[in-house]
Amino acid sequence: MNNMTTETKQVPILSIRGLSTQFSTPSGLLKAVQDVSLDVMPGECVGIVGESGSGKSVSFASVMGLIKPPGQIAAGEVIFDGTDLRKLSAEALRRIRGKQIAMTMQDALTALNPAMTIEQQLLEVILAHDEDIAAQPYWQKKRRARTRAVEVLALVGIPAAQTRLNDYPHQFSGGMRQRIMIAIALACKPRLLIADEPTTALDVTIQAQVLELIASLRRKLGMSMVLITHDLGVVAEQCDRVVVMYAGQVVESGLTAQVIGAPRHPYTRGLLQATPRVEDLSAPVRPIPGTVPNLINFPAQCHFYSRCTQRTDACLAAIALTRHADAHDVRCIQIEES
């Protein structure tokens, strides 16, 4: 089964090519994700940054095959470890999802089932995917799975994991619930973890704990990761590369130091200037004027046009993502080639 073990550093574990996801609405077609391409290398952490409506969550819901009508993936390939996930049957996809690729959802309270104990929720994943445990005789399975559940809960730092297995999600604090989500995601040792805003609802102190935990687990398990967030600070501290999304498109991507240290797209620059920084209180905070455009029946033009200070009439045509020096991709025709 695993004949692709001679993996070199150059082969991405996840490669998204030209992904487009759209929703048909009564008022027209909403292209939530348009021609998104990105790679995640083995062991790498890629940050996906964008505001509400940028398409960052929809992109990865598409990767996981979670788009339901009226939504529809219109085009693109999602290649995970050499296989195009979009061509797989529902059953084959189910075997990869949760086992090889795991995803944690933004709001742990709504993502966890309130009527099931955390033991039931953990065992569900472990019994569905863990081959060692599946090979056990049936009277052994549950006991072994429970041992594994306690192990992963301890791994994510839930104190007295053994005694808390029978608790329900509401009996845990927000930080603990996020840890349980991560435990469920990690229960089958996935090769890729997609974390959708793992710390947005948490206090900074708890956020630091959770991010530290994810980083150390990533080092320990050699896992690749996609971190979806709107917080540029979190990206700066956690990610090797960043992909900035705006209104359904990738507008800039590159190494974290490049994108945050020397941003080239006017939106990325605007976003950085709009972020208050504790390390430099004297730096003025400049808002980006205007709001995100409504993407229903949106014309083929630069998506940032209405809010951009550098726009010209040439921006009213479809703009391609262009590669600049050092694999720094930018979707803007106004920046000079360096």
């Binding site: 505001e51 930080g175 206090d203 102190t205 709107h230 972020t275 208050p276 390390e279 400049r286």
Partner: protein
């Protein structure tokens, strides 16, 4: 001598939890949530005081207790020379024209069945003595100032985005010409670019309307940009208070240090000493003895569990005060 616009003395708020029948029959004592435990602070006219801390530390309760939106259990609030805690409901009602609040959730805090003109004119109908025409003129002026076009005045909240709704909340708070506005997490629900727009608007309006803000937020960077002074709260108490630059650049309390070190930075320091706090905020139902932070404090001493530190100035001349036994012993 400038009298402060607002002086809060020993404000306490305990929420009592109802007992179940079984608990009542067995004579079990009521459990009490200690939301505020003797908070004392001053806010000068025209300044912005930032209140920061983790969820559950009592910062929102403090903002609301100052306005008597929650009734304090004890303590005094003096606003512009008048003791708010001694006022009856009618006096307090009249006072509220000058004490306003902007809420966190721009969805839940606006009546969905009223147009934004109606929403913003309500404070004037309650407090104003002017004619309806004059009120309307004032409503239109403030709506325009916060960024609405005249053709939008008769629309309903659901027709606006989150950032625009927060502008409606701001217009409603400012239309009665308040002196003090409590901003309770006004930008927490907003996207980065919209957040910056609202922060800028709040800054401009403060200058235009001579406002004094109490800015409650867990977003330390945003507070750092807007506030002149910052008070750091932990389990219902102020553990450190001082000028913004002093708090951000040289925090003295171990909790403030841990809180600040946890804020993600765009330019990660080359060598970062991050103090990761262990565990969650203890339950305010059953707060720890002595210094409430001793259970999570990286530098706790044996005495910390017994003795409660008092908020004391670091030096005689500064406004920077800390409640920590370690700073006390250092002197």
């Amino acid at each position: 001598m400038n009298a402060p616009l607002l002086r809060v003395e020993g404000l306490v708020k305990h929420f009592e939890r109802p007992r179940s029948l079984a608990q009542r029959l067995t004579g079990e004592k009521r459990s009490v949530v200690h939301a505020l435990n003797g908070v004392t602070l001053e806010v000068q006219r025209g300044e912005t005081l930032g209140l920061i801390g983790e969820s559950g530390c009592g910062k929102s309760t403090l903002g609301r207790a100052i306005l008597r939106l929650v009734e304090p259990s004890s303590g005094r609030t003096v606003f512009d020379g008048q003791d708010l805690s001694a006022m009856n409901a009618g006096q307090m009602m009249r006072m509220r024209a000058r004490l306003q609040i902007i809420f966190q959730d721009p969805y839940a805090s606006l009546n969905p069945r009223k147009s934004i003109r109606e929403i913003v004119s309500l404070p004037l109908q309650l407090h104003g003595s002017a004619s309806a025409a004059e009120n309307n003129e004032q409503v239109e002026r403030i709506l325009q100032r916060v960024g609405f076009r005249p053709d939008q005045f008769d629309r309903y909240p659901h027709q606006f985005s989150g950032g625009q709704r927060q502008r409606i909340g701001i217009a409603r708070a400012l239309v009665s010409r308040p002196a003090l506005v409590v901003c309770d997490e006004p930008v927490s629900a907003l996207d980065v670019s919209i957040k910056a727009q609202i922060l800028e608007l709040l800054g401009e309006l403060k200058a235009e309307f001579n406002l004094t803000y109490i800015f409650v937020s867990h977003d330390i960077a945003a507070v750092g940009h807007l506030a002149d002074h910052i008070a750091v709260m932990y389990l219902g108490e102020i553990v450190e208070i001082g000028r913004t630059l002093d708090i951000i650049n040289s925090p003295q309390h171990p909790y403030t240090q841990a809180l600040l070190s946890a804020v993600p930075r765009l330019v990660p320091a080359t060598v970062r000493t991050r103090t990761v706090l262990i565990g969650d905020l203890p339950s305010p139902l059953n707060p720890p003895s002595g210094c409430k932070f001793h259970t999570r404090c990286p530098v706790a001493m044996p005495t910390c569990s017994g003795e409660s530190p008092r908020l004391r100035p670091l030096h005689l001349e500064t406004s920077h005060s800390v409640a920590c036994l370690r700073s006390d012993t250092r002197e």
